[in-house]
């Protein structure tokens, strides 16, 4: 994927990764003790497996941009950030970093519980590479930002987790780094402080810093970042405009979900083995073109095709459906009798289709129940409870409504 969509002419690249790989040698079995290791070594049984945490990464990040990293857990995002922070060295390839890197430390990392807030600030500052003198200049600002007041001279074991988070954030962001690494730590403290920390990051950014941002919250990636990279199994799958990368990533996530939904639908199980007059043989969720689909958008056409196999003649068959939202809300229960369809079945195969011209449902996951009923005597012949699923997803379809569970398709008019 080409690195595009940012006017590169106005910026210099500040981080360069050239064909970077990181390999871990993992023992095939966990060898925890020295004794065990020695025995294995003597037996020549210490086998290692090479695990590629990152594999041939090429990436340039430009000065002043906010760059996001997305991907599943274990995809290699954090490993990549650690390379930039000098914590890890690459097994292969080259990393160039121009400027001072400040990682946003995990809350309270390196804080000692018995020491006061003041003492911990100096210690933490030293870990970030600042001398005592430099910290003396920063100290009043840090106290002010963290809103700790007199608590700064109390041992930090007496602090609440919110206070710790504020102090940690204040120390880490007081300096104006060239590159700030933010690894999912923005969700600390109360809402007011979250807002404040967001503003602090914005101001660091406005002063020309480059920010590397990792999050599982796609909305934060989209609002914070200009560009993003999607990392999967140690490789960059996609890099470019943040919105586009997020779209591709979510598309893939939904594709995988679709595969699961389809697999589930074809598992085939029967709650009604005993009454062997008729059985549901297949249920398909189809789109306008009569091909199977499991993710729809509001307003799309959906067809539910139910096939059955009869073993005896049935005079008055009723095919019924129920659609539930995943949390159990019953939305609708159409059946062939309501529609005036009279079905007489002879032994053999048959089927019906229920067409919904324009789905009124809003985003969510929905389950379908199918039932075959003999209207004479009101006897349930076969029944599959919430066995089929589909998702409504409006991303990319510009459907504006999002409150509640359905659209009534109404129109507004100015009087």
């Amino acid at each position: 994927m080409a690195e595009n969509s940012l006017p590169a002419s106005q910026s210099h690249s500040i981080i360069n990764l050239e064909d970077v790989s990181v390999e871990y040698r993992v023992p095939q079995e966990q060898i925890g003790t020295f004794k065990e290791y020695t025995i294995r070594l003597l037996e020549g049984k210490v086998k290692h497996r090479v695990f590629k945490a990152l594999n041939g990464i090429n990436l340039s990040v430009f000065q002043g941009e906010v760059f996001g990293f997305i991907g599943q857990n274990g995809a290699g995002k954090s490993t990549l950030l650690k390379l930039v922070a000098r914590v890890l060295r690459p097994t292969r390839g080259r990393i160039l970093v121009r400027g001072h890197v400040a990682p946003l430390l995990e809350v309270g990392a390196g804080f000692h519980p018995e020491l006061t807030g003041r003492e911990n600030v100096y210690l933490n500052g030293a870990m970030l590479g600042f001398s005592h003198k430099e910290m003396e200049v920063k100290f009043p600002r840090i106290v002010e930002f963290s809103e700790l007041g007199d608590f700064i001279d109390a041992p930090i074991r007496t602090y609440s987790s919110g206070m710790l988070a504020r102090l940690g954030f204040a120390v880490a962001t007081d300096s104006q780094p060239d590159i700030l690494i933010v690894d999912e730590v923005l969700s600390v403290g109360d809402e007011a402080f979250q807002h404040k920390s967001f503003e602090r990051i914005q101001s660091i950014k406005s002063q020309g810093a480059t920010i590397l941002f990792v999050s599982h919250a796609m909305s934060s990636i989209e609002t914070m970042c200009q560009r993003a990279a999607w990392i999967h199994h140690g490789k960059i799958v996609s890099v470019g405009n943040a919105n586009e990368v997020v779209d591709r990533y979510l598309g893939r996530v939904y594709d995988e979900e679709t595969i699961h939904l389809i697999e589930d639908s074809h598992r085939g199980f029967h709650t009604n083995e005993g009454r062997d007059s008729i059985k549901i043989s297949q249920v398909k969720i189809l789109n306008n073109q009569n091909s199977e689909q499991h993710i729809f958008h509001t307003g799309e056409t959906m067809k539910l095709q139910i096939n059955y196999q009869a073993f005896q003649p049935i005079d008055s068959l009723e095919v019924g459906l129920a659609i539930h939202r995943q949390d159990g809300v019953h939305l609708t229960g159409p059946n062939t009798t309501f529609d005036g369809l009279d079905i007489k079945v002879n032994p053999g195969f048959g089927g019906v289709v229920y067409s919904i011209p324009s789905l009124p449902l809003l985003e969510g996951l929905y389950n379908i129940t199918v039932a075959l009923v003999n209207r004479d005597g009101n006897l349930i012949l076969d029944y599959q409870d919430r066995f089929y699923s589909f998702r409504i997803e409006n991303r990319g379809h510009k459907f504006p409504e999002k409150y509640g569970l359905m659209t009534l398709g109404g129109k507004w008019k100015l009087l």
Binding site: R86, V87, E114, S131
Partner: protein, 279 residues
Amino acid sequence: MKVQPALPVIYDSTRRGSAVIEELREVLNYHHLIWQLVRRDILARYKRSFLGVAWTMLNPLGMMLVWTIAFSQFFKSSSLPSYPAYVLSGLLAWTFFSQTTTASMVNLIWGGGLLNRIYIPRASFALAAQGTGLVNLSLSLIPLLVVMLITGLPIHFSFIFIPVSVLVICAFALGVGLLISTWAVYFPDISEMYQIILVAWMFLTPIMYPEQILPEAYRVYITMLNPMYHMVKLFRIPTYYGRFPTLEEFLIPFMIALVTLILGWVVFARKSDEFAYRI
């Protein structure tokens, strides 16, 4: 603010000299951190208990008392004019060694979470442990002086040699500390094992007994081949014995310490890039 045309390259993963030299350079860059770590250790100790730093002095004194009561009759010898001072001087050197080596290892393992998040020179922990040990040792010289005065040993001019002795022991302890820290990163049970080794090692070193009581047949193994024998002796000479060491008495421990330190530093620095994967 930072709108310079292009920032200079400050980190290039391929441009790198020997890991051994680089670790040394970074440790010098981060001397503030090492100082802060020492401060943290001492402040934390001071805060945790009512008597605080006084324990640094009371602890070896208590140990000395116990051993004196238990063994002074047993090891009575004309060559030991003041058994309490003999035990205490040996104990100070030994405690310094055992505490700093253990702390190097423990600090690296427990403080290691930091290594995963931020770059700090990995040897900082071992160096800070030495710093803390030096502060503790300096404080415990006070009870040693008191005990020597009470038991009637003269305070000799040779006391000024103590810093040299201590530096040699410190170099040895740092070397050992770095070596066992490296192993402990790979095998967590090393730290348990080391505690047992320390006990055995202490009993094999003439600390509470005079070396003369050792059977002639084993004496050479227990003394000459035991580096801590030379270290303890180097500390006792200017304090308990009240004289300056001979050239040989100085050069043997000095060479042992130098070789151990270089070996420890090289092994540690070469392996330290892997630590972040392991801890």
